[in-house]
Structure formats: C-alpha cells, structure tokens
Symmetry: C2
Subunit: 161 residues, 2 copies
DNA sequence: GCGGTATAGTTTCATTTGTAACCATCTTGA
DNA sequence: TCAAGATGGTTACAAATGAAACTATACCGC
C-alpha cells in the first residue's frame, strides 16, 4: 500500500515535462508549420505537400527518375509514385521512359508545371521568411548548425536500433 | 520560344534549394525522430505516439478531462478520444464521469498505466539524450530559444492566414 | 542464351487520420 | 421552466498513408 503509493510518487517525480521534451516540441512545431503551408498549397493550387515536394525537386533536378525523388526527398516510394501520377495526370509533369533502361521514368516539369512552381516559390519563401524573422542573425546560424547536427544524430538513432 | 526558355531559366534560378528550406528540414528531422520513437513505443508496449502522449500528460496531470488533453497536447479531439478509448480498453487508464458536469470525463493512469509509464520514461529520455549529445551546451540553449521563437512565429502564421 | 536475383515502379489492401455529423449534457436568458 | 445555443465527447465516413505483393525490365554468372 505504502509502497504502491511510493511507486506512484516516484513516477510523478520522474515525469517527463512533455512541453520540454525535444521530440514532442519538434513534432508540434513541424505540424504547425506543415499545416499552415499545406493549406497554402492546397487552396492555391490543389497540391498536397508531397506533390509540392516532387515539384520542387523536379524544378531543381530535371529528368530525375522516381527513385531519384525517393532518395532526395526521403519520401516513401509509394508516396512518390502517387504524387507523380497526380502531377502527370494534371499535366504539370512530363513522364517518359529512359531509353537505356526501360524500367526508369524520366520526369520533368511541363511548362504548366514550371508556371505553377514559379507562382508557389514566393509564397514558400514568404512563409519561411516569416518564420525566420523571429530569429536574430546569430540564431539563424545556430538553427542551421543545430538542424544539421540533429538530423545526423537522428539518422544515427534509426541506424543503431 | 526564346521567352519561354527565359521563363524556364528564371524559374530555375529562383529554385528553392529544398535541402535548405526550413519547413522541409523541420519536417524531415521530425519524421526521422518520430519514426524512431514510434518504433520504440510500439515494439515495447504496443503504444502509438498519440497514446504515449496521452499517457505522459495524464502522468503529469491526473484527473484531466479529454478536453484538457486536447489543450495540452494540441492533438485533435478525435485523436484524443481514440487514444483514450484504447488506453481504457487496455486498462492503462481509468475513466470516470465528473460528478458536477456529467459531460466531462475524469481520466487518470491506472496502476498498470503508471507502470508502463515508468518503463517508458527512461527510453524516452535516452532517445532525447542521444539527440542532444550531438549539441554543445551553448547549442542546446540556442535550440531551446529558437524552438520557442519558431513555435510562436508558426502560431502567428496560422492565425494570420 | 538462360535461370536466378536485383531494381523500378504500380497496385492492393489494411491502418491511420481528419472532417463533419451526431448525441448528451450543461448554460443562458426570456 | 423551457427553448436556443454552447460544450464535451463519440461515431461515421472519406481521404491519406504504409506494408507487402506484384509486374516489368535489367543484370549476373554460368
């Protein structure tokens, strides 16, 4: 009885203050940001975030294969496949087959895709700018370093387990 | 023709380097971390991340109502409802009805819930520690500040739109 | 060349998640 | 006191997501 009460007490003393728990804070921040952005893309162009990511990578790396997209975005290959299908359907992306390896798609933005991309970029930049405005120059640099280090550590996490 | 080529050129010059785009980096980091943690909780205790969050909040704030959980975690109320249902089903959480307002649930960890919680806490802490290990003391402080500022800015984002 | 294996990409199906409708209870104000 | 909201919570349905199976092509060793 007393020991049960003690155990319970100990649990509470050890209690994680969720609001200071890094993974939780990260997740909350990301959700807030992602939802804001998702709304933007969806309302303006009917694009989901995965769609937008594919678009953005193709803008930078034309003639990527689906596999290239997977590697670059770290999205699931099914997600990539679906986004590409949607974008091709909407004629924002052109798909052709690699002449050397018929398994590979060659994906690029169509003119329409480039146009959509050009119109989204300022919105994306604006969104990012509004976030960064809240930071000093020093903090921005720190953020950059920290994100890099954390991503590396997080990759270690998954590798180790 | 030339102008089309020029437009396309311009788009590429403006291209967002996704890998430096803050929302993207955040999302990628969070996904990596969340997936690692989700695996941990799921494999060890069959808990999803939402389940764990509810558990953690109840450890700190016993006798919360479902609405309290929504407020504290910023989870969707449906998600909370579902997690609570699962946890009650598994007898990790006790649910009773508030005597003053029969709409309200009063939720607390059962002894079993406390036990599970106690066993998870070190794992969660360890995970967090491994992430933070990659940072200097200075960087950790900076991270704290930056996360706070960014969350505030992100909340502004959604409020403004 | 030919069987075995690896890779690219899609489809299928089960699970998760979110939105909206819903029911029960409480509060307010005529 | 009772009608009209407001609030707490669940249910039902639709959309997004993920894991695994599948198809098609390519490579590798013999």
């Amino acid at each position: 009885m007393a020991s049960e009460a003690t155990a319970r007490q100990k649990a509470l003393e050890d209690a994680i203050e969720l609001e200071h728990f890094l993974p939780y804070r990260l997740s909350r921040l990301t959700n807030t940001v992602s939802n804001a952005i998702a709304e933007l893309y969806r309302d303006s162009f009917g694009l989901s975030i995965p769609d937008w990511r594919v678009l953005a990578v193709l803008a930078r790396f034309p003639d990527s294969s689906a596999q290239d997209l997977v590697t670059r975005t770290r999205m699931d290959k099914v997600a990539v496949s679906r986004s590409v299908a949607r974008l091709v359907e909407r004629e924002l992306v052109n798909r052709s087959i690699d002449s050397n390896d018929r398994r590979l798609s060659r994906l690029s933005l169509s003119d329409g895709g480039v146009e959509v991309y050009r119109r989204i970029v300022p919105m994306a930049r604006d969104c990012e700018a509004r976030l960064l405005e809240s930071l000093s120059a020093k903090q921005r640099q720190a953020l950059d370093d920290v994100l890099m280090a954390l991503q590396a550590a997080a990759d270690e996490l998954t590798a180790t387990s």
